[in-house]
Amino acid sequence: MSMKITRRTFLKISGATAAGTVMGGLGFDLSPAEVYAQELRIKGAKATTTICCYCSVGCGIIVHTDANGKVINAEGDPDHPINEGALCPKGGSSFQIAVNPNRLQKVLYRAPSSAAWKEVSWEWALNKIAANIKKSRDKSFIEKNAKGQIVNRTNGIASVGSAALDNEECWLYQKFLRALGLVYIEHQARI
């Protein structure tokens, strides 16, 4: 969603929320001149709203991207009723998730007994994973348990993940796993 914040509302909100920022430093504790400079930096940028990826408070974040689609800024959403523009050090650093040379950018494969990663294509990796799934499933699938009861499950594959996925992805993932017959399905909520 694109949105517009005028300099006036921005100043009003940032002034009101500075006191509420627990950690300070990375929030909106800026002098008016700095705020004006900040505004210049994002002038003409596209603003998109999202929700922070760290703790469960659910703070609103505005991400600014330039004409090439590059992330140039991420800051607290002043209209959001929970954080009212404030962010903690983690949320305030979320820009560095997007712009970070250490991000995984390639599909990597480590062969048995190998000491190194090898770059592979999505097509190759997904085909091989699918073949592995089929092999493990076919070998370990049981229709009946030791008591002779029908269980129709795959004993040989387990999964952990993930609270880092969106709701729709979580739902789709459980659908995928249960269709394969998995019962060892776990994630962060258990630990």
Partner: protein
């Protein structure tokens, strides 16, 4: 959470216990501060003085693992001083219910214990019913067999002196907390509790929370603005991922995963919760509708009435099988799995007894690791002590989009489902997780279409139609979760019209109403606030039914008038015959007319002061952690929770009262990092702020072990050891436990060997494989360690040229 973050501001007293809210949920502190600004009392109870404590009106310490003793003392104080909300206790809780005459409790054990099975037969804890099957009640609360009197007897043992001996909290400090929190028993006062892993990560984790639930029920603090029991969860969507059934024991919407004895859907539906009390709504009676509608989303047209909507195609657990995390890694360690997905997770650092989890990964044939950054799980084969040549595990590391590079919703702890928009493309060839799942499933299905495999029906019949113009479309999944009327093809307005005959579909009944014909409710951004309580009913969407505070009919009297006139959450409009305020927790008329009890998800309709459904007893009872510093439980002969599963052998060792491991240890979090650090250690700003693992200890312990602030130390447990920088500080102090000095230390668990190189290892190398008997959440908050000073490293010799 029963309530939500903005609601903290409505409280008169806020108890933060088992959590460090200022450091770990920093922005939420805005609403604690707002309450404080209006005169609210903020209480922090913790083993350690933190930045939360600096803001507290009352800060008191307790030894880690003794919360039930602390709260048991509070229950006794509330009862002894008549601070409970009598109207609420009589009308909205099971205090007046009569318990089975065979119920008993003796020296730490409830009736029905079988020591050979280490398990209870809970039948003697049940509530007595009359000929109609309705629970018997005794409204004067005087019957010695009523829940109220049994509660009184049980906690009469939790005297100030006994509690102080166990917890190490001075008696005067106990009284300060009890007195302040006890004031919220008045109907026009609201008390709330905020907790986190400090309560769950114990072998009595569920009972910690039960103890507080009893207090909140006694004080009439459930279902009101400024009240509730509020879990501050650790991840941005751990609420949503739980709701979506990514756990072994539940399908989406908390529908139990079927077990083998339930061979047919008819068998499964026979276990639907039932109540014969005409005053109990027993909402779970609707479960068969939610199950049938869920199966329709799994198998679409292939799910028919005749085949029980494909129930047979769903995998079943063995009866009583526990496939939870600790057992999963135990099985992996034993070589039970050939394949493994670590999707958006880093178990090599997040598992309790992480050394065992790392070894377990070597037993796999293949692993798929999906993440935003490299991590200790994906790269385990080159980690410390690993010889890649000997490790046969094939590893696929798939790069995924970060949160701001894709569209979708997440649910915060307050159950607000908020929509995220895509701001940018992911780097390189990284893709959103949803796209990866979609493409992988298509590949698997193609293999089963081509070649034979056992029982391929669930794969071939799976409803999988999520593309728009050849691309994966997350909105199609969101709509499927909301559900359709299959006779009209229209999106459902909510879960009320769901049916059990196959004419409706719904991926998760709790989320029905989130994406309707009126649009994507989670994306709403209107800040209207008609109640003035900060419910913001048009901002995002909240499950269930956009109800912002659950059990909210407990906030009114029998005529439907708010019991707290300053914070009217709901009010019955007699003329219009409707409720005004929050979405009512069921729109029945007030109880004084033809209405029903307010706790609609409980079969009896009331809050459970006696809770007969848990494995370790109907009332919380203090037991020591598996590893503890004292030989004997000071309140009974049962040292540890009598029903916990103890893992033995292999890499699982435990030692208690062993002079080699004399100090209590907790793991915890810091503001600048998150979980295992995968999403924070790679961020330069954050790693500069908190570059490495440290171990906090008291000035007294520093003196005892000749450790100075800044020294390097080794922290060792029976499972492993980590090197850390010592922080010798007055933030920790030794406890006086029945005359004996007990030292406690703590360290954050955000680090790992991969990055940064001098950041240190995971503190989970120390934690034990032991879990709560109900949830199997590991006991990471109370175990035993030693701390010793590390001899200075020899200076590096100059490299030879």
């Amino acid at each position: 959470m029963t309530n939500h973050y903005n609601d903290f501001r409505n409280a008169d007293v806020i108890l933060n216990m088992g959590s460090n809210v200022a450091e770990n949920h920093p922005v939420s502190f805005k609403w604690i501060q707002a309450a404080k600004d209006k005169g609210a009392i903020f209480i922090h109870v913790d083993p350690r003085f933190t930045r939360t404590s600096t803001k507290a009106d009352i800060f008191v310490r307790l030894r880690s693992g003794t919360d039930i003793a602390f709260l048991g003392g509070m229950i006794k104080y509330i009862l002894d001083n008549n601070l409970y909300d009598e109207f609420y206790v009589k009308n909205y809780t099971n205090a007046s219910f009569i318990v089975n005459p065979k119920y008993g409790f003796d020296d730490g054990l409830f009736s029905g214990y079988d020591p050979t099975k280490r398990a209870y037969d809970a039948s003697t804890w049940a509530l007595e019913k009359d000929e109609q099957g309705v629970p018997k009640r005794e409204m004067s609360l005087q019957d010695p067999r009523c829940v109220f009197q049994i509660l009184k007897r049980h906690y009469s043992r939790y005297t100030f002196q006994k509690v102080s001996e166990i917890t190490g909290t001075p008696m005067a400090d106990l009284e300060k907390v009890y007195k302040a929190y006890g004031t919220t028993g008045a109907p026009d006062k609201a008390g709330t509790v905020l907790y986190a892993m400090g309560w769950t990560q114990h072998t009595v984790g569920v009972q910690n929370i039960r103890a507080m639930s009893i207090i909140q029920s006694l004080l009439g603090n459930m279902g009101i603005a400024g009240g509730g029991v509020n879990a501050l969860r650790g991840e941005s969507n751990v609420q949503g991922s739980t709701d979506a059934g990514l756990l072994f024991h539940i399908w989406p919407g908390y529908l139990p995963n079927p077990q083998a004895q339930l061979a047919t859907l008819a068998d499964y539906n026979k276990t639907t919760p039932a109540s014969k009390d005409p005053r109990s709504i027993n909402w779970w009676k609707n479960r068969p509708k939610y199950v049938a509608s869920f199966l329709k989303t799994m198998f679409g047209d292939k799910a028919t009435k005749e085949n029980e909507f494909g129930y047979a195609w769903m995998p079943k657990l063995d009866t009583g099988q526990d496939a939870s995390w600790l057992n999963l890694f135990d099985e992996m360690y034993k070589g039970s799995f050939t394949g493994f997905f670590a999707w958006g997770m880093n178990p090599a650092c997040s598992s309790a007894n992480a050394g065992k989890a790392r070894q377990a990964l070597t037993k796999l044939d293949w692993m798929v690791n999906v993440n935003v950054f490299d991590n200790e799980t994906g790269s385990f084969w080159k980690g410390p002590g690993m010889d890649p040549k000997k490790i046969k595990t094939e590893v696929f590391q798939l790069p995924c989009a970060a949160f701001l590079e894709k569209e979708g919703s997440i649910s915060n702890s307050g159950r607000w489902m908020q929509w995220r928009y895509k701001a940018a493309n992911p780097p390189g060839v990284a893709k959103p997780d949803g796209d990866i799942i979609h493409e992988l499933f298509k590949k698997v299905r193609a293999l089963y279409e081509k070649g034979k495999g056992p029982f391929s029906e669930p794969i071939l019949n799976l409803k999988w139609d999520y593309e728009t113009n050849g691309h994966f479309d997350i909105h199609k999944v969101a709509k499927e979760i909301n559900g359709y009327d299959l006779t009209t093809g229209k999106l459902l307005p909510n879960f009320v019209p769901l049916k059990d005959d196959g004419t409706t579909s719904c991926g998760n009944w709790l989320y029905s109403g989130s994406y309707t014909e009126a649009g994507n409710m989670a994306a709403r951004r209107k800040k209207t606030d008609p109640t003035g309580l900060g419910l913001y009913p048009e901002w995002s969407w909240c499950w269930p039914l956009n109800r912002r505070i659950i059990y909210n009919r407990a906030s009114v009297d029998l005529d439907g008038n708010p019991r707290d006139p300053m914070r009217p959450l709901l009010k019955w409009d007699g003329a219009e015959k409707k409720w005004i305020g929050d979405v009512p927790d069921n729109a029945v008329p007030p109880m004084g007319t033809t209405g029903a009890y307010p706790f609609i998800m409980k079969p009896d309709g009331v809050a459970s002061i006696l809770g007969p459904g848990l494995k370790d007893g109907p009332f919380p009872e203090h037991y020591e952690p598996l590893e503890c510093p004292i030989e004997k439980n000071l309140i009974s002969s049962q040292r540890i929770n009598p029903v916990i599963k103890v893992f033995e052998g292999g890499l699982d060792t435990f030692l208690t009262c062993d002079p080699r491991f004399p100090f209590v240890c907790s793991t915890y979090r810091v503001t600048e990092h998150w979980q295992t650090g995968v999403l924070t250690r790679w961020l330069p700003w954050l790693i500069e702020a908190e570059p490495q693992i440290f171990c906090e200890m008291s000035l007294e312990l520093g003196k005892l072990r000749e450790i100075k602030n800044g020294d390097r130390v080794i922290v060792a447990s029976p499972r492993g050891k980590v090197e850390a920088v010592a922080i010798v500080t007055s933030r920790l102090k030794p406890f006086n436990i029945a005359g004996q000095a007990v030292h406690q230390v703590g360290l954050p668990w955000h680090f790992g060997w991969l990055h940064p190189k001098d950041g240190g290892e995971s503190a989970n190398l120390l934690t034990p494989t032991i879990g709560d008997p109900n949830t199997m959440i590991p006991e990471s908050k109370a175990f035993m360690v030693n701390v010793s000073k590390l001899a200075k490293r020899p200076a590096k010799k100059p490299a030879k040229s």
